[in-house]
Each structure stands twice: as C-alpha cells, then as structure tokens.
C-alpha cells in the first residue's frame, strides 16, 4: 500500500473508533444531567443512585472519547499536512473555538462534578453536569462546522492555491451545517437513550433493583422516542440538501447510474462499479423524487452524467466514490433508524399497558438495539465521508493531494499498528469495566451523606 492508502486507513480506523464514544457522550451526558435534575427536584434517592450509576459509566466513555479525540486533532497535521495548509485558514477556526468554548468547560466542570459531590452546593453541582452536557454537544457543533465546510465549502476564495476566509458568517450558517448538525446530535441522543434503556432493561431482567431501573427506563424511552423521530425528519432534510449540494453522493447512495425523471427509490441492488450498472434491482417508483424534492415528478441525476460533468469541470479522472459501500451503508442507516422508532414506540405502548417490566423479549430487544446504534452511527459517517471521495474538500481538493509528502510509509505502518493495538486493548478494558459496573447496579446512597463519584 502507498502512504496515501495507509493514511486513509489510519484516519478511517481512528475516526470510526472515536465515533463509537462521541455519540454516546452526547446523549448520555444529557441523560445523566436529566437524572440528576429529577433528584434535585424530588429529593428521591433513587434518582441519585441512577445519576451515580450512569455517571460512572459516562466517565469511562467520556475518557475514551477525549483521548481518541486528541489523536484526531493532531492527525490532520501528522498525516494530512497539505490538507492542513490548504484549509487551515478556515478549518482551524472551529477547531480552536471548540477548544476555547467546549473542551475547557467539559474537562474543568467534569472534574468539579466528579469530586464536587461533597464540596459544592447542590444547585451549583447540578449546574456542573449540565455545563458538561451542553459543552459536549457544543463541541460536536464546532466539529460539524468544520466537517460541513469540507462537504460544502462556502465563504472562501482561493489565494495561491489555498482557501482563504472571506465570510465567517457564511461558515457559521453553512446550509450543510444546519441540516447535518441536528441529525448527528439527535443520532447521538438515540445512542445515549438506547444505552440507558438497554442497561436498565438488563437490570430489570436480572431482577436487580427493578423499581429503580424502571424509572430510568421510562425516562430513556421518552428521550429515545422523541430523538428517533426527529433523527428521521432531520435525515430527510439532509438528504434533500445532498441532492442539491453533492449530487454525486446522492446518486451513489441510490446506486443511480442514469438520470431519471420521475426517479424511483432502490430497495435492493448488486452494484457493479466496473461495469457501471446495478443488477437485480428492486425499485419503488416515484419514491426517490419524493425523497429528493418532496414531489412525484422531479428529476434526479445519475452518476454517469455527473461524472461527465466533473471531467469537464476538473479535468480527466474518476470522480466516483466507492458506490456499493455507500449504497449499503445508507440502507443500513435508514433501516436501523426506522427500527429504532419502532422499538421506542413499542416500549412506550408496553409502558402504557403497564407491561414494560414483564416483557422479557422486549427488554432483550433493547440490548440488541444498543449494539445496532453503533452500527447505524458508523454507517452514517461512511455515507457522509466516503460519499465525498475522491475529494477531501468537495470539488476543491482531492484526498490524494492532501496527504503529508514528508511522512514515510513505514512511519504510518508503525502508527497505524500502534493505534489499532492500543485502541483494541482499550475497547476490551472499557467493555469489561462497563460490564463490571453495569452488573453491580446502582450504588447505595444514604440520606444526608455525600460521597464523591469516585476518587482515583
């Protein structure tokens, strides 16, 4: 493999791994804050025990999100130095703001929250966890701002082959950001919701403090139901934006080779990228026109036309992303999204009938769903990032031109092996810890006695 391929693999591996923990952090931080708010308002020790139970697991997950995030920040300079030179004037701003406005708050107030149970007045202590939750989500917004600019570059002009900022407001209000940010954050909320729901279900199934965990299960159900519905609608907005701003990505998501009007939605296809056809297709007539433009008759452009147009615009080359991977990732993401809505509302219905705690099959289902949220998140990122290939900045900079020219293949082999190995060990350790603490159930709490979440 060449340095470029290796650097791409390393970025893919480290990003997907980082993105196991990030969505969990986004949702779980808010849920822990909600649980503690319930405790603050009612004084019910059950909520305090739940806060500490999920808080402890949150700290483990948060730690892994942070350490893998540092790798991401430095990897741009290490492996993608030419990319960094090209985009620094713009891409660096959200990264710097993220550190200034989000990371400092998260790290400082998480420390205050963990060790502050015994030292801070209750209201201020509650404010600490809310600040952590808000800052975590804020940090996602800044990163998505940087990512949105790579998807749809705005507010720049090219000077000496580099993108220079001309309009900061355009970057803040990038249409891509406005559709992508809610979708990603709500996806994180589903993940956090399913986490709380699945662990509560596990405890209820094991008859371990079921009266406590029924409370967290109910909160998680409402949270997940709302988040999963909103994720679907925001996903629809994002798809419509993709048709306009990145037609090649949309065509790849659909395996659509020839322009169609009206356009049909593909349910199943075997993609043959070499022959540029899709075999054994099952298509729903009109549905892609609906998805793309909210009407039955609009035209949706196919990859062959877009490829010809790109060659005209940017010179000879293959401008197709890896179609089969994007086609199937999209279907996995959407299919699972629908499943999450169904599972959440099934749970609400069981709760309404008063059968939530007895329905063993349902409780087991939620545990499978937790695993599937990670699959859905990963599939979503594959669509977003691989769908942009071969561009690293859409229609401005090819991925191949962004790689560091001074880094040897051997160095990347070493780093990729090291990251994969260390990340693998961490995954095992984290999974073991979550299982270990998950099993123990909510910790004992006495009235009037305060203990910190943990000491080292």
């Amino acid at each position: 493999m060449e340095a470029l391929e290796l650097a791409r693999w390393q970025f893919g591996i480290t990003t997907v791994y980082h993105f196991i923990f990030v969505p969990l952090t986004l949702g779980l931080s808010v849920l822990v804050a909600i649980l503690q708010s319930f405790y603050y308002r009612t004084g019910d020790l059950h909520y305090k025990r739940l806060t500490k139970y999920f808080g402890k697991l949150f700290v483990i997950i948060f730690t892994l999100g942070i350490v893998t995030g540092i790798v991401q920040e430095f990897q741009f300079g290490m492996n993608w130095s030419e990319y960094s030179r090209f985009v620094g004037d713009i891409f660096g701003i959200p990264l710097a703001i993220e550190a200034l406005t989000a990371f400092f708050i998260e790290s400082t107030f998480l420390g205050l929250w963990i060790f502050g149970w015994t030292r801070l007045p209750k209201a201020i202590h509650l404010a600490c966890i809310w600040l952590v939750a808000i800052a975590s989500n804020l940090s996602a917004i800044w990163i998505l701002m940087a990512n949105s600019w790579m998807q749809v570059p705005v507010g720049y002009h090219l000077v000496n082959g580099r993108a220079e900022l001309t309009d900061f407001v355009a970057i803040l209000l990038n249409e891509r950001l406005l559709v992508q940010m809610p979708h990603v954050i709500l996806g994180g909320f589903i993940t956090g919701g399913m986490f709380v729901l699945a662990l509560s279900a596990w405890m209820i199934l094991r008859k371990k403090q079921p009266e406590i965990f029924l409370k967290s299960a109910k909160i998680a159900l409402v949270f997940t139901a709302v988040a999963s519905l909103l994720t679907a609608t925001t996903g629809h907005d994002q798809a419509q934006d993709t048709v306009q701003s990145q037609p090649m990505k949309m065509a790849a998501m659909e395996g659509l080779w020839e322009t169609e009007q009206p356009a049909s939605f593909s349910l199943f296809a075997i993609i043959d990228q070499e022959e540029r056809t899709s075999r054994r297709e099952i298509r729903l007539p009109y549905m892609l026109s609906v998805l793309s433009h909210n009407n039955l008759t609009s035209e949706v452009r196919g990859m062959n036309d877009i490829q010809a147009e790109m060659v005209e615009k940017h010179g000879p080359g293959d401008y197709l992303p890896p179609v089969a991977i994007i086609y199937w990732s999209f279907r996995i993401m959407v299919g699972l999204g629908v499943l999450f809505i169904a599972v959440a509302f099934w749970g609400l219905w069981l709760w309404w009938r008063g059968k939530l705690q007895e329905h063993a099959f349902y409780l087991k289902t939620t545990m499978v769903m937790l695993f599937l949220t990670f699959v859905a998140n990963t599939a979503g990122w594959i669509v977003a990032e691989m769908g942009r290939q071969p561009w690293v900045v859409y229609e401005l900079l090819l991925t191949a031109d962004g790689v560091s020219p001074s880094v040897f293949e051997s160095s990347i082999w070493i780093s990729m092996t090291a990251f994969t190995l260390v990340y693998g060990i961490l995954a095992v350790a984290a999974f073991y810890l979550i299982w270990h603490f998950g099993r123990q159930g909510a910790p004992e709490e006495e009235e009037g006695v305060e203990k910190n979440l943990h000491t080292y």
């Binding site: 620094g88 004037d89 660096g92 701003i93 708050i105 790290s107």
Partner: protein, 337 residues
C-alpha cells in the same frame, strides 16, 4: 503590534500555560511510584491532581487548535516533521488518561500496577519528548523549499535535543515534587520535600549544561554576548530562589519559583526565535516565519476577538476549580471513601 505577532504571543502563552500546568501533573505522575510507600500513598498522590490533570491537558489541545488556525504551515510542518515523536506523545497521553480513570475501577493488583505503569510512562515520555521537540525547533530542522521536513528520525535524536529532553524532564519532576508538598500531609509530605531538595542540584546541572550549550548550538542568545539578558536572568534567579524557599520551608513560594523558571525559560525560547517559528537548517530562505506561515488577517482578527472574550473566562473558572479543591489530600480522606 501586528496580528501575526499577537498570535505568536498567544500561542507562546498557551504552550507556556501548558508546560506550567501539565508540568506539575507530569511531575506527580513521574514521582508517584517513588514517593509512595503503599497503595494509600499512591492514591493520595494521584488524587492531588485528580480534578485538574484533564483540564491542564486542554491547554495543549487549544495550543494545537490555535496553531492550526493561526499558523497552518507551522502546524503542518511541525506535526508531520515530528511524526514518530508525536505518535509516542499521543500514545503516552492516551495510556496516561486511561491509567488515571481506570485505575480505581478494579481492586486486583495486576490491574492497578498496570495503571501505575501507564501513569508513570504516560507522564515521563511526554515530559521528555516535549523538551526534545522544542530543542529541535530551536536548533533548526532540515526543512525544504515546500515547507516540508526532509530529514530522518535520526536527525531529531541529536545529543543536544536529548539534553533538552532531560532538562524538561527534571524540571517538570521538580515542579511536581513541590506541588505534591503543597497538597499532601504527614510522612508523604516530608518525603516529597526531601525528594524536591535532592532534585534541585541535578536539575541545576542539566539546566546549566543546556543553557551553556545553547550559546553554541542555537540562535537564541545571538548578539547577547556574555550578558544573558532580562528573561534568562529572571529564569536563573527564580531557579536559585527555588532552593532558598525550600530551605526556609516556604513551599508555596518555591512552587511559584519553579513555575517562573518554566515560564521564563520557555519565554526565552519563544522570544529568541521570533519572528521565526521553524528555522530551516538547509537555508534561511526556507525558514517558516510568523508572516509566511500565518493565516489571513480576517481569520486572525476573528480568532483574536474570540480569544480576548474566552481566555479570561476560562482562567476565571479554572482558577475557581483550584479554589474549590484547595484542601490537602489526606490518607484519612482516601481510606474513608
């Protein structure tokens, strides 16, 4: 002052803040296995930095982000040029954080001793490697006309850079020992005070050697002759003050003095380099300076406004968190929890 200079200053401030703050928690991590007699001591030691180390690390993340935004070429050249040392630093920071957070989660001996190794190596390696990296920058690297590093790993491991690494390692360890003396009680406190006194002489020897060789190997002191200048003088005086304060048992002042040595020592480096940020050892035409490595004025202006708003707020709440956790960590408090 132009925007480029302002951002050069701000990035210097971020790195100085990072070395000052993470410096002492690196030191605590390095000393943890040596000053602890038992498990309770080890936990006391780690808890002295418990609520702080994570926020201290954010200074580095911010410095990285700010370099990316304000001086993309500096960021790109430095991080791709120092590929393998940075990989080591990253791996060290990963295992260190995991060591801290996962250590207390299990009671098994092997688990805790693994975590202790993570904490020690995760603190010692970056403490050493930041010194190596900074020294290499000052000496100058083989940087070509396209602003990219064209040397090999071997070029980074020259004796002077290794001495620079040793200097940062001992200085952070001393800084950490004095921090520990402020945060602990009883036997442990007496032990760390003794360690701090023992460390002062070797630290002085290494720093002296580093400074003297600096006259020969770097541009920092060019034009100064035998008189070292104001900033180096403050660094030297504050280092001597460390010993004086330790002798009269004023450890709070001694901590301020090690801090001042780190702050002013790093300032000497940044001031000596300005306006160059990455000197090229191949040709002075290829130097990266604050002007040819910087972002556009618009980007720098926007970032300046944001920094002027947020940096004071950050300093305020970080200061508050140190105030909240101002009490010393005792063995009692640990065994009770």
């Amino acid at each position: 002052m132009d925007l480029q200079t302002f951002w050069f200053l701000l990035i210097a401030v971020l790195f100085i803040g990072y070395f000052f703050l993470e410096g002492f928690d690196f030191g605590v991590g390095i000393l943890m296995p040596f000053v602890s007699r038992d498990e309770v001591d080890r936990r006391v030691t780690i808890n002295t930095i418990g609520p702080f180390w994570d926020a201290n690390e954010v200074w580095l993340i911010t410095a990285g982000g700010a370099m990316f935004a304000a001086f993309p070429h500096w960021y790109a050249t430095m991080f791709s040029g120092f590929y393998l040392p940075l990989l080591l630093i990253l791996l060290a920071l990963i295992v260190r954080a995991v060591g801290f957070e996962f250590r207390s989660k299990m009671k098994e001996k092997w688990w805790r001793s693994t975590a202790d190794h993570f904490i020690f190596w995760g603190s010692a390696l970056p403490a050493f490697l930041w010194g190596v990296a900074l020294t290499n920058i000052v000496i100058g690297l083989p940087i070509g006309s396209d602003m990219n590093f064209v040397g090999s790993l071997g070029a980074l491991l020259n004796p002077y850079a290794l001495l620079g690494g040793t200097a940062s390692l001992v200085m952070f360890t001393l800084h950490g020992a004095i921090f520990l003396s402020l945060r602990t009680t009883d036997d442990l406190k007496e032990r760390v005070e003794r360690v701090a006194r023992l460390l002062w002489v070797p630290a002085g020897v290494v720093l002296l050697g580093f400074a003297v060789l600096g006259y020969r190997h770097t541009v920092l002191f060019e034009g100064l002759g035998l008189v070292p200048g104001t900033l180096p003088m403050i660094a030297i005086v504050s280092f001597i003050a460390v010993l004086v304060f330790m002798q009269i048992k004023k450890f709070g002042w001694a901590f301020a003095a090690t801090g001042a040595t780190i702050v002013f020592g790093t300032m000497v480096i940044f001031q000596g380099m300005y306006p160059i940020v990455m000197p090229s050892s191949i040709s002075s035409d290829y130097h990266l300076t604050v002007y040819n490595a910087s972002s556009s004025d618009l980007t720098l202006t926007i970032m300046s406004v944001l920094a002027l708003i947020f940096v004071p707020i950050i300093l305020a709440y970080q200061g508050w968190s140190y105030w909240v956790f101002r009490e010393r960590v005792t063995r009692d408090a640990i065994t009770r929890s």
